[in-house]
């Protein structure tokens, strides 16, 4: 099950967050900060799946934007990885050209 879906930029500001499980408001900020810290410290040749607490993070980087999805063990990681890309392509098609700044307006 997908726990949450985040879009965070390199400076650590959350552009979009969607939680599919109840998480308190103050915990969300902490969660996002930790997640982005984990993702930013990864290099190019490390894999895109991070184990964090009791679920996994699947992340993908698009220029200055990180899209991170938190999943539990029932999901196929690769499928979710491609799902992220599909999502970005859909946004691309729908909003003609997707750039970070466009996403700022979301």
């Amino acid at each position: 099950m997908i726990k949450f879906f985040l879009m965070v930029n390199k400076q650590g500001q959350t552009r979009l967050s969607r939680y599919y499980e109840h998480v308190e408001i103050n915990k969300r900020a902490i969660l996002e900060a930790e997640v982005i810290k984990n993702c930013l410290s990864r290099s190019k040749d490390e894999c895109s799946f991070i184990e964090y607490k009791d679920f996994k993070l699947v992340y993908r980087q698009y220029a200055a934007l990180f899209i991170v999805v938190g999943i539990d063990q029932t999901e196929n990681e690769m499928a979710v990885y491609e799902l992220i890309h599909n999502f970005v392509e859909v946004l691309d098609k729908y909003f003609s050209r997707v750039v970070s700044e466009t996403l700022n307006l979301l």
Partner: protein, 861 residues
């Protein structure tokens, strides 16, 4: 309010804003919720697909219990109706899934099952995807009902996989047909065992082979997305193959495919391959095939830059370890440990300890490994690990000498870890005599070595060392005076820590007054420990959580028979153990007492597991009578307590009804399983007392408390008390105990105020000798008037002041309420302070009642 108005407008944009507002800001304001639900209901009933879609999305996003209650019946109808549009069907399926996740009991699936399964055949792949998600979750709870979905899923899957690239236009992603749907269907199939029907099974095998073949073909597109999507389907298929575990050639192919991925350029693939191989390693068919890749895995462990991948490699090494490669793997893991991340060190330490113990052909190797472990990662070596090594050394005579020598040498290193001092101290204390012959390790040298570390250690270690010193006094009388001097020194005898001071004083005394025989008996060598399941495994399980590598451990143990000759018996139950028990430091406390002896043979444990029939109700636990008497006049308190369980009560009564809350507290740190409390009424009691209990969760976690509610109705007067019988499984043993439940007739006693005149009038009315019962008895408790008054009130009767001419007497009145009748009762208690006795007179309209009440009340004073 505005939002609710917007909801009911007919324009899409307004409606959309209204719903957006509601889904973000809904709270439990009941007024609004009703209006909102109404608006949603209207939208659902309208035939307009956009409105229905909006309504369904709102329900799914909010998913609160009130919404579930309101709509759970409606949505399945929408889902399976013939005329709903596809998009609405999709939303309905996912909405139902969401409601099911939050409130599974409110979603009635009985009638709709076959229709929902039928959705898998729908034309529109979106509907199929949504339905698959729904069915996967439902099937996990009720696999039987959704069995028919298996064949449909298989046929759907094979149609997708074998479709040419021109079909499925909308659903082809970079030349891969419907990847997410394929993944979901494969997941659904993992909820079930391999299909029995040969046709279906054949189709499935074909399907899986096609997927495996496709992986070998050259890619249709250079884009990374194509290969990612293809691999997503491939990995899911491999999971399914592993789950079924029935086709050897598929398993071997899968294994080879994964082997290829292990050396792929892309890190993601290497990671996933290592993970899948881990689960593959437990299957018997492919275990050999997995082992061939050991070199690659070890290489990965050494060279990978990514810590997650290294972690997976370690897990895989652990899973693929068996007798032939154990030494190599343990050596590699120890190497890795030196440079490993701090957060995972403890886990690796536990794993190394388990592997070393399990596959040790020669126990000297085991001792070496553990000592190395302590040397490298001493801080992370938890207590269980070194307890275990000591247990093993004590149980095996042949390795004792070697252990003593090795430990002695290790201690000579300039900087040694405290755990090493603990182990060393203990072993030398027990077996120092085995190496005392050698002049390099003479007793005095041993003592000096240990004492040199003494001041560097923490309090528990020092305590252990003090015990070792007294053991030395026994083993080596020649250094007795040296040791006594040490014990006598002020820093020991006047030590700030109470434990150390006590030990020093007692040991000193023991060494001075006891004769050598007594000393020898007291400080005899520790007897071998009873064979017990390794508590290390339990600890590892707790760390990793369920469903991971430790489950492999269970499977492996079940499959492989006793590899080590005299190693501990493989237990068929899950690994919960009695807590690390007897104080290993020598002369002290008995292990946790269990009524049933801890079973140490396979046979008896299996019997326990498989015999579900409840044994005869255990005899009443001792002391339950006292507690019972205490509860006659009060309603709250602790009913029963032993070392494992505490039972508390809180009850309230009104007229002829009552409610009792029974609290069961688990005093241990281990879970109780199959926890079943039952209230038993004897046959005589049955018609007079109606008891209803709500069932209790059968698992009680360590330290947790569960509550049970008992509803009581008094139908007629009764004499006996019901019995509460509790059965549960603690550790490997079965516990059964019974206590009397303090539901007595006086609980239904309603106090009645009345004037002195009325009282005496009634008293005379009840002058029939049968209606009166008198008892003269000695006071058991101090005769305090206040306490006595309180007890009478607690008993349920009204305390009537100034009724009796003698002010020292206590007079009470009340009515017993039962369903059928009401019985008036009058009582008079006359204390005789000089003789310390009481005379209690009870008059009621029913003889039996008088008798019973008199009995109950007499106990109280």
């Amino acid at each position: 309010m505005e939002a609710v108005n917007l909801l009911s407008s007919n324009r899409y944009t307004e409606k959309q804003i209204g719903y957006l507002f509601i889904s973000v800001l809904v709270n439990s304001n009941s007024e609004l919720i009703r209006l909102i639900n109404n608006a949603i209901k209207n939208d659902l009933a309208s035939r307009n697909p956009t409105f229905m879609g909006l309504a369904l999305h709102c329900i799914a996003n909010v998913g609160s219990r009130e919404m579930a209650e309101a709509f759970a019946g409606e949505i399945p109808k929408i889902l399976v109706a013939g005329d709903t549009m596809d998009s609405v069907k999709q939303s309905a399926a996912l909405c139902l899934l969401r409601l099911y996740r939050t409130s599974p009991d409110l979603v009635p699936m009985g009638d709709w099952t076959s229709r929902v399964v039928h959705l898998l055949n729908d034309q529109h792949l979106g509907v199929v995807t949504a339905a698959t998600s729904l069915i996967t979750t439902l099937a996990q709870k009720n696999p039987e009902e959704f069995k028919t979905s298996v064949s449909l899923a298989v046929s759907r899957l094979s149609r997708i996989v074998t479709s040419a690239s021109t079909d499925l236009q909308d659903y082809t992603y970079y030349f891969v047909p419907a990847p997410w749907l394929s993944v979901k269907l494969l997941r659904l199939l993992q909820c079930y065992p391999p299909p029995e029907d040969p046709a279906v099974r054949g189709r499935l095998t074909e399907c899986l082979e096609t997927i495996l073949n496709k992986a070998q073909e050259p890619p249709k597109s250079k884009k990374v997305q194509h290969s990612n999507a293809k691999n997503a389907v491939l990995f899911e298929a491999i999971s399914l193959i592993i789950h079924h575990d029935s086709e050897p050639n598929l398993l071997v192919r899968a294994c080879n495919q994964l082997g290829q991925f292990l050396q792929h350029r892309e890190t993601n693939l290497r990671y996933l391959a290592l993970e899948s191989m881990c689960t593959l390693a437990s299957s018997e068919f492919s275990h050999e095939a997995v082992k061939t890749h050991i070199e690659t895995v070890i290489n990965a462990l050494k060279t990978e830059r990514d810590v997650s991948v290294r972690q997976r490699a370690v897990d895989l090494l652990y899973a693929m370890c068996d007798r032939s490669n154990a030494q190599q793997i343990v050596a590699e893991m120890l190497n890795y440990l030196e440079t490993a991340d701090y957060s995972i060190r403890e886990e690796i330490v536990l794993k190394v300890a388990i592997l070393a113990e399990k596959y040790a052909v020669d126990y000297t190797w085991y001792v070496d490994t553990i000592l190395n472990l302590i040397r490298i990662a001493g801080d992370y070596v938890s207590e269980e690990v070194w307890y275990r090594v000591i247990q093993i050394v004590i149980n095996r005579d042949d390795v004792q000498g070697y252990a003593a020598k090795t430990v002695f040498e290790a201690l000579q290193a300039p900087a040694c870890h405290e755990n090493l001092v603990k182990v060393g101290g203990y072993i030398l204390g027990e077996f120092g005599n085995l190496i005392a012959g050698d002049p390099r390790s003479s007793p005095l040298i041993q003592f000096n070595l240990l004492h040199s570390k003494f001041h560097l250690c923490s309090v528990p270690t020092r305590a252990l060392l003090l015990s070792t010193y007294i053991k030395f006094v026994n083993l080596f009388p020649e250094i007795k005076t040296t040791i006594q001097d040490v014990l006598r020194s002020d820093s020991q005898l006047k030590n700030a820590d109470v434990e150390l001071q006590q030990r020093a004083v007692e040991y000193l005394r023991l060494s001075t007054i006891a004769s050598t025989d007594i000393l020898a008996t007291v400080l005899e060598e520790m007897p071998p420990f009873p064979e017990r399941e390794s508590s290390i495994l339990a600890k590892l399980k707790k760390k990793k959580g369920p469903g991971t590598v430790t489950d492999l451990e269970e499977i492996k143990r079940e499959r492989s028979s006793d590899m080590n000759g005299s190693a501990e018996p493989a237990c068929a139950t899950d690994g919960s153990t009695p807590s690390p028990s007897a104080d290993l430091l020598g002369l002290s406390a008995a292990p946790v007492t269990n009524p049933a002896p801890p079973s140490s043979t396979n046979g008896s444990l299996l019997v326990d597991v498989f015999s579900d029939t409840a044994p005869a109700v255990a005899p009443l636990a001792p002391g339950s009578d006292d507690n019972f008497a205490r509860f006659v006049c009060k309603n709250n308190g602790v009913l029963f307590e032993n070392q494992l369980l505490q039972i508390g009560l809180k009850s309230e009564f009104r007229q002829n009804l009552g409610r009792m809350f029974i609290f069961y507290g688990n005093k241990t740190s281990t879970q109780f399983l199959n926890f079943t409390p039952t209230v038993i009424c004897s046959d005589d009691l049955q018609p007079s007392l109606n008891l209803q209990t709500k069932p209790v969760d059968p698992t009680v976690d360590g330290g947790a408390q569960v509550q049970q509610v008992v509803n009581i109705e008094c139908v007629s007067d009764f004499m006996e008390a019901p019995v509460l019988n509790i059965q549960f499984r603690y550790g490997g043993t079965f516990q059964n105990l019974s206590v009397k439940l303090p539901i007595t007739l006086n609980k239904f006693f309603q106090p009645t105020e009345m004037s002195s005149q009325d009282f005496f009038q009634r008293w005379k009315q009840l002058s029939n000798p049968k209606q009166e019962v008198q008892n003269i008895f000695k006071a058991k408790h101090p005769m305090d008037a206040e306490i006595t008054k309180a007890k009478i009130i607690g008993f349920g009767s009204a305390l009537l002041e100034e009724v009796d001419p003698n002010p020292a007497n206590f007079v009470g009145a009340g009515i017993i309420h039962t369903k059928t009748t009401q019985i008036g009762c009058l009582l008079r208690l006359e204390p005789n302070l000089q003789a310390q006795m009481y005379r209690l007179t009870l008059r009621t309209s029913k003889e039996a009642v008088s008798q019973r009440l008199c009995e109950l009340l007499s106990e109280q004073f």
